[in-house]
């Protein structure tokens, strides 16, 4: 399939997701908004990518499309009809493969046809054909545990294709595989797609890998979190087969990095996220101080010398965006670095940190933690004021839960504890759930 063979816009879309929102009930009776006002159209012959960090609701959206859960607002239409429950003609490939360990490769693949009450002979011929197509010839009687990860995911593909779906939904199908296997499977998939050998008309791919999105998709929808929403739509006009070393490819990857690290508030919608570090109600990411030091050191060293391009760093450190972005954001919160336009630039103190001894680093870190993370200053002040110099964790947890979900509050406290321990700012006894000023003997 070639990008310039895209069907005319007048064509009836396979799938039409219109203004969908999704909320989940929370323990305290309120609701957690995970998707807000999301609209997606999938035309025949298209691969659409949903790109975003974990927690941006892209997998939730995929499950809404598959009819595995129901939207709280808006509508999902498939071939013009609203989706109410699992629809025939929409098949899914899962991140964890989700094969049944007690069924052989053949039985796993045939399961979907059995559910459709397809005649036995046809079930057999179609299953074998799907196994053939996906390169699993000879493995029909093997059990999943006997297969490598790549082979298992091939079974996942065969199982989805055997029911001849119109739409194939892929939920990070390559992210549980090693780099080489993933590349091999991606290329095989794209070859089959280009040759029109698969019985599918359109594909939706969820991924958090920017290069994978650019390599595979015709259109990329970039998601942001809290709540999950589409911030940008990018048309990938690069002809297939695409080459990662191509200048246009690299430029597009760079552009997506810029989009994804853009400061909130510039998007088309009013920001729901708060600017990092404005109050005690900020959710802190759980990033270890080792990662923070590691990134500072890498950026301070040659060839970056204090300023680095995020895609370059990601490939240099072999980090996925889900790993890299929280670290970069933490540095930004602590004012050790600025992130803008896909670049990470160390501040003066960031550079000083890289130069410092272990002791100097801790002092610098403590100062920045107190100055830039209001929650740290708040806990410190409470501990200073109290005669016993101790305070229970529950006290702060309650305060945080006024502003965020209980899980986020717990995570924020844990992140704070980890940073405060590194900075030797205050101590925490996990068994008793108590903060204190002195370190235990």
């Amino acid at each position: 399939m070639n990008a310039n063979l895209k069907p005319a816009p007048s064509a009836e879309p396979l799938l039409d997701v219109a203004h969908v929102r999704k909320t989940f009930p929370r323990g305290d009776g309120n609701e957690l908004l995970v998707l807000e006002d999301v609209s997606v159209k999938l035309a025949p012959g298209e691969i659409v990518g949903l790109l975003g960090r974990s927690g941006s609701g892209k997998s939730t959206l995929l499950r809404l499309i598959a009819g595995l859960s129901e939207p709280s607002g808006g509508e999902v239409r498939y071939l013009g009809r609203p989706v109410a429950g699992p629809a025939e003609g929409i098949a899914m490939v899962f991140q964890s493969f989700a094969l049944f360990p007690w069924l052989t490769v053949y039985e796993n693949v045939a399961l979907g046809l059995e559910a459709l009450h397809v005649a036995r002979d046809e079930t057999r011929s179609r299953s074998l054909a799907a196994i053939d197509l996906i390169g699993l010839d000879g493995f029909e009687s093997a059990y999943p545990r006997e297969l490598s990860g790549g082979m298992r995911q091939r079974v996942g593909f065969a199982r989805a294709l055997v029911v001849h779906p119109n739409i194939l939904l892929m939920d990070e199908p390559f992210s549980a595989l090693d780099v080489l296997t993933a590349e091999n499977l991606r290329t095989d998939f794209l070859d089959l797609w280009a040759d029109g050998k698969m019985p599918i008309k359109g594909v939706i791919l969820v991924t958090h890998n920017i290069e994978e999105a650019v390599q595979m998709c015709d259109r990329i929808l970039v998601f942001a979190s809290n709540p999950g929403r589409i911030v940008t739509t990018i048309d990938v006009g690069i002809p297939r087969p695409r080459d990662r070393n191509d200048a246009a490819f690299a430029a597009l990857v760079e552009r997506i990095y810029v989009e994804m690290t853009a400061k909130p508030g510039r998007g088309p919608k009013a920001p729901v996220e708060r600017t990092p570090g404005t109050g005690i109600d900020t959710v802190l990411p759980r990033v270890s101080s080792n990662l923070l030091s590691g990134l500072i050191e890498t950026v301070a060293a040659q060839p970056f010398a204090g300023k680095a391009d995020l895609p370059e760093i990601a490939s240099e450190l072999q980090l996925e965006i889900d790993d890299l972005f929280p670290v970069a954001e933490s540095l930004q919160v602590l004012r050790f670095a600025d992130v803008e336009g896909g670049d990470l630039r160390l501040t003066a103190d960031g550079l000083a940190f890289a130069e410092g001894t272990s002791d100097e680093r801790k002092k610098l870190f403590a100062r920045h933690l107190l100055a830039n993370v209001p929650l740290a200053a708040h806990v410190k002040r409470v501990l200073d004021e109290r005669a016993s110099h101790t305070a229970p964790k529950s006290r702060f947890l309650d305060e945080l839960e006024d502003h965020m979900a209980p899980e986020a509050a717990e995570q924020t406290i844990r992140a704070l504890v980890s940073w405060a321990r590194y900075a030797e700012l205050f101590a925490y006894d996990d068994e008793a759930g108590m903060f204190s000023l002195e370190n235990p003997t």
């Binding site: 598959a66 595995l68 964890s96 049944f100 545990r145």
Partner: protein, 574 residues
């Protein structure tokens, strides 16, 4: 009595080895020795008079406290046994060869059998005093608690990760220090889980242990068990009601004060923590953690332990490799001791059985065993048909499972003997067939193992796997056949074999039941043993117990164990 299933992965897997046979002979010999001894002493022993049990509910707190103390004493004994026996079995390859099968055989012996053959021995320890009966009762409870705890501990000791052991060695920790610093903490979480199971199992046998009748001798110890026995004797439904209420309160109290804190504390020792799992919490533990007094006490303890640790843990001398080969001499001594013991066991068995022995008696016991076996299998099948679908339904709904899981565990802990009177009254009133209608009592307490294992199995099913089923439109019988039943199968087998083992044990209590003067009885091996105990016929007790042990062992080896490995191999989601 729940057999410990996980231990099988290190115990011998398939066909019985000669050590299984040796273990069997040894246990039979021990049994015969105790029974023969009892037969001799029974006559001259004075009848122990103890305070009559009052049905006045105002005595219940005292009775409950005394029974709980007995349970805790037995638990302490079980821990001592666990730490010594299981450690010995795990550390010494030579001893382990015989100790592990021995434990397996001991586990299969009906607990009431233990009580009846050791009763006289314990009474003779403190002639004419209640103390002897106390020993006997505590020992009886001990035999219902110890085996699975020892199995669990043995299993943990055998599976300590190699890196940790190597790390401890490279720090030159002495074996003593390694045991307390590494091996015990590693074994704590499964051990505590087994302690909870044991405690539940123990309640069932408290009733039997506190009101012991062997031949013409009845000894009653003040406690819940004796209270219940008395209530049954007096046909007092009100007293049964009070007993049920008291038991509910006692179980809640020790769950909250003892096990919940233990489970929450044991979470510290969990080696691999799967992310996202909610750590167990206990308000008692949290309160204790905040107590200053306790903190001071702990500091003191820690200091004294350090002193002790220095005395024991210094590894003096040059580092040296641990010996790889066994000495031939010791092997020889071991074999000689084993042969001597076997001869002794054979002689004791012969001494007890020979004067009366007739193959006809064995035939009777085996025939009755077949009836009990049929009962157990039919009941397990019935319980499965009821609880598997319910368990799957609950397990797939996390909120329901959170409510149902502790409820099922609570039901398992509840001594079902309390419900026996109701059933007996019904059988007598409606003139029902006792062979049929007494049977459900056997599974009353053990069916819950099936339920909560299936709930756990369904809850452990990965979300994506369930989504596949929905996405492919797999529904109805196809869904049960291809997805739900296979997914819970390994969990079900664990539950069913625990229930089966427990039901055999319960048969001794359930096939004979009474309500005042009314006695109803079902034909079966359990009734055979129970009657022999009441008559004080040690020859029959021995025949009955050995036959039941053999049934349990053979069924485990031929059915449950192969099924368990099959399930682990084919169905376990890894």
């Amino acid at each position: 009595m729940p057999p410990n299933t996980t231990a099988w992965s290190t115990a011998s897997r398939g066909a019985p080895t000669r050590f299984d046979l040796i273990a069997l002979v040894l246990v039979i010999g021990l049994f015969a020795f105790l029974a023969a001894g009892s037969r001799g002493v029974l006559a001259p022993l004075a009848v122990v008079e103890s305070n009559p049990i009052s049905l006045d509910p105002s005595h219940l707190p005292e009775y409950a406290a005394r029974t709980t103390l007995r349970m805790l004493a037995a638990m302490a004994l079980s821990l001592v046994f666990t730490f010594t026996y299981a450690t010995w079995a795990a550390k010494s390859v030579r001893a382990g060869k015989i100790l592990v099968p021995l434990l397996d055989v001991l586990q299969s012996v009906p607990i009431l059998g233990f009580i009846s053959v050791t009763f006289v021995f314990f009474m003779s320890l403190a002639p004419g005093r209640v103390l002897g009966a106390e020993y006997a009762a505590i020992f009886g409870i001990f035999t219902s608690q110890a085996w699975n705890m020892a199995f669990s501990f043995y299993q943990s000791l055998r599976t300590v990760p190699t890196e940790l052991t190597e790390c401890a060695k490279s720090f030159r920790l002495s074996p003593w220090a390694r045991f307390w610093r590494l091996e015990v903490p590693f074994a704590v979480p499964p051990l505590i889980w087994n302690m909870m199971m044991s405690m539940s199992g123990g309640w069932f046998f408290v009733v039997a242990s506190e009101a012991i009748t062997v031949g013409s001798h009845t000894v009653t110890l003040p406690g819940m068990g004796a209270y219940i026995a008395r209530a049954i004797e007096e046909r007092s439904l009100a007293a049964v009601g009070f007993a049920i209420l008291t038991m509910l309160i006692v179980i809640v109290i020790y769950d909250q004060l003892l096990f919940r804190p233990l489970v929450a504390w044991a979470d510290l020792f969990r080696f691999e923590q799967e992310p996202g799992a909610i750590p167990p919490r206990s308000w008692v533990l949290e309160a204790l953690g905040k107590s200053n007094l306790l903190a001071r006490l702990l500091r003191l303890l820690r200091r004294s332990r350090r002193q002790l640790g220095i005395a024991f843990s210094a590894a003096p001398g040059l580092p040296r490799f641990e010996p790889q080969q066994h000495s031939r001499l010791l092997d020889g001594v071991g074999i000689a001791v084993l042969i001597a013991l076997l001869a002794l066991a054979g002689w004791q068995t012969d001494r007890l059985l020979a004067p009366q022995f007739a193959w006809r008696d064995v035939g009777t016991a085996v025939g009755l065993g077949a009836i009990t076996m049929l009962r157990v299998f039919v009941l397990i099948a019935l319980a499965s048909v009821v609880w598997v679908p319910i368990g799957v339904w609950l397990g797939l709904r996390p909120r329901m499972a959170r409510i149902a899981q502790p409820l099922a565990q609570f039901m398992a802990a509840f001594p079902t003997n309390l419900l026996f009177p109701v059933v007996v009254a019904a059988i007598v009133n409606f003139k029902l067939n006792a062979d049929l209608w007494l049977s459900p009592l056997m599974i009353l307490g053990t069916q819950w193992y099936i339920l909560f294992n299936v709930i756990a199995g369904a809850a452990a099913m990965p979300g994506e796997m369930r989504a596949v089923g929905t996405n492919l439109g797999v529904r109805g019988w196809l869904w049960w056949r291809r997805i739900a039943l296979p997914a819970v199968f390994p969990f079900y087998v664990t539950g069913a074999l625990t229930a089966s083992g427990g039901s055999w044990n319960a048969a001794v209590a359930a096939e004979v039941a009474s309500w005042g003067n009314e006695h109803v009885e079902a034909a079966g091996l359990g009734a055979y043993i129970a009657n022999a105990t009441t008559e004080g016929d040690f020859y029959k007790i021995a025949i009955g117990c050995v036959t039941m042990s053999l049934y349990v062992l053979i069924i485990n080896r031929l059915l449950w164990r192969p099924l368990y490995y099959y399930a682990e191999r084919k169905f376990r989601l890894s």
